[in-house]
Subunit: 359 residues, 2 copies
């Protein structure tokens, strides 16, 4: 009888059991690519389509109120800007140039036209700065909250696109800018929000935190890097944008390239403000860089032959090396210890806030 | 002083004041197209991108639980199927072939992996039937409800694409299949839902309504028509898919082409089941066809020179003619009356259900 019951009962697996990456791979298995124009499907920063000329590169993201943003501290204009930028970042991470975006929004009746104007002012600012065209979208109502879905479309040259699967043993691991700052900015905003909620008379103390808060509320995509790569004829062997944190994103490259890697703690760039703030929160700065996410910097690998090209370019840091898969993915700490690095997608279904970057 | 106050008070315009089309045009003004690859931006069924080979055609839609679908009567598998089909329909309405889709979902923790499997089984069935590839997406949590964002990408030949702005005076207005059935199917489902909610002992009476209910829950896109156009070397001068209802969609063509039109009531195809059901609901069948929406049939115009090509093709109906703009957009009824036809987007912000098609 219990057996019979087991057969009858509809199974209910919580999505958290699979985790983000597990869920995506579970849902998208059994979707073969059958059109010759579909060069690259699921599993990279963007899909790649060949319609006979330059390759078309497509990436899409959902931003959900209460999950990816909190309107209590995120101005609508910044939110509009960020919703475009995070998608452009995916196109740059393919070593391609974004050219078009579509923006769809679902919104409840608590949003006025003036509020939407703010949101679109941010979208427009991003389109202006990155020189991309808004070419479509959908606008609809929602029973509750605001949701923004952006698709970015870019173009790239066939032999220049950088996938996640191109890293080879001996390649150098490089990071642009600095990591961990966006996460620390978010922690400051969350702290001040909690204080404000406990006592609305308390004025938020955000002064002196402009850099960290700017990194979470109004990130930029590394368009400049892609242009510098082209100018210096530097072709990354693999590339990804750091949206989930260095750990997860390095893991993606290693998994898809069938390699391992080590990262030197001393080689991971961390902004002085982030260093200080991490200590104030009693956090290890390298942990913020590894797990924080939302920095939208580029993580890429280059052939060792290109080391001289990278050495003299500003804002690029050599952080480690690609090794055989059997050696795993590790962090070499300043103290001489070796720690395994693990991928961490979200596991946040049902929680009211998400601490990490996009899926 | 009142003047001063007026300056100070932040203005709050309800989005309903602008309506769907007004809101879209309000929000998207000031977004110029500056990339040579952006051939067509906002305002057609899909955007058109030129990366040097075949043109890339892109369309996107949001489906929101409680607005576009009701899981009380919409099986998840059908919903997955429909979410893909409504986007493919936009690509076909450009006289192009869909080749890829991206699917993003935001879902609350009330959805299990098994529920998602059902949704993706429908998505897979649509990909199989229409031979398109799933190439990307985003999966994230939502504080409440399910939201599906689909972007369809297709390819088309430069001189074959059918825009909304190509209708010329003297062109014939054609409609495929039949109109109004999806709307009537929805009314049946809503009626049975209300009865069930008032007394759960009442069994829904859906028998005999397979056709109408199928039209709303599992619509198909007119891939067959696009193939027939190619085979018969028929090039529509303008085309749109009927998602908002004949009124709105004809209005879009007229507005963008700078023309007027008349439709003969007797020329609008309506399925016998829809005729009967409309009468049962005490509705005029032609009203259902004009305002119902979600039929995903094609509304297109052809040069009068092509009349013989259309006359002998199955499932295409000549319903009217394009006239000068000053003559307006009108319906000629069977009774010999002339009624103006007006565009009707949604005005449903804040309502819990939307009776009309996508934006």
């Amino acid at each position: 009888m219990p057996d019979h019951n087991q057969e009858q009962a509809p199974q209910r697996t919580d999505v958290n059991e699979l985790g983000e990456f597990g869920l995506i791979s579970h849902l998208t298995q059994g979707f073969p690519l059958r059109n010759p124009s579909s060069l690259k499907g699921i599993g990279d920063d963007a899909a790649v389509i060949d319609n006979g000329g330059l390759l078309t590169v497509v990436s899409t993201d959902l931003l959900v109120e209460g999950i990816h943003f909190d309107l209590m501290y995120s101005p609508l204009k910044h939110l509009g800007y960020k919703s475009v930028v995070v998608n452009l970042s995916d196109i740059y991470a393919m070593n391609a140039q974004p050219k078009q975006v579509t923006v769809s929004i679902a919104l409840s009746n608590r949003f006025s036209v003036e509020a939407l104007d703010e949101l679109y002012a941010g979208i427009r600012a991003a389109c202006d700065y990155y020189q991309v065209d808004l070419v479509g979208g959908d606008t609809t109502s929602s029973p509750r909250g605001l949701l923004i879905s952006v698709t970015a479309i870019g173009q790239g040259e066939r032999d220049k696109l950088a996938y996640r699967n191109g890293a080879r043993v001996g390649d150098l691991v490089c990071i642009t800018g600095n990591l961990g700052a966006a996460y620390l900015g978010l922690q400051i905003l969350e702290r001040e929000k909690q204080l404000y909620l406990s006592d609305p008379a308390i004025k938020p103390e955000l002064e002196g935190h402009d850099y960290l808060i700017g990194r979470i509320l109004k990130p930029e995509a590394r368009k400049d890097m892609i242009e510098m790569f082209a100018k210096n004829q530097l072709a990354p062997t693999a590339m990804i944008d750091v949206s989930d944190g260095l750990s997860s994103d390095l893991f993606h490259i290693c998994e898809q390239s069938g390699v391992g890697a080590f990262i030197e703690e001393s080689g991971v760039p961390i902004h002085p403000d982030a260093q200080l703030q991490a200590l104030e929160f009693k956090l290890d700065p390298i942990t913020c860089a590894l797990s924080g996410g939302e920095d939208y910097e580029l993580l890429f690998t280059i052939s060792p032959d290109d080391i001289d090209k990278v050495k003299y370019l500003p804002d690029i840091y050599i952080a480690g090396e690609i090794v055989p898969a059997r050696e795993g993915v590790h962090l070499h700490t300043r103290g001489g210890n070796i720690h395994p690095i693990e991928a961490q997608g979200w596991k946040h279904f049902g929680s009211s806030n998400r601490e990490k970057g996009e899926g």
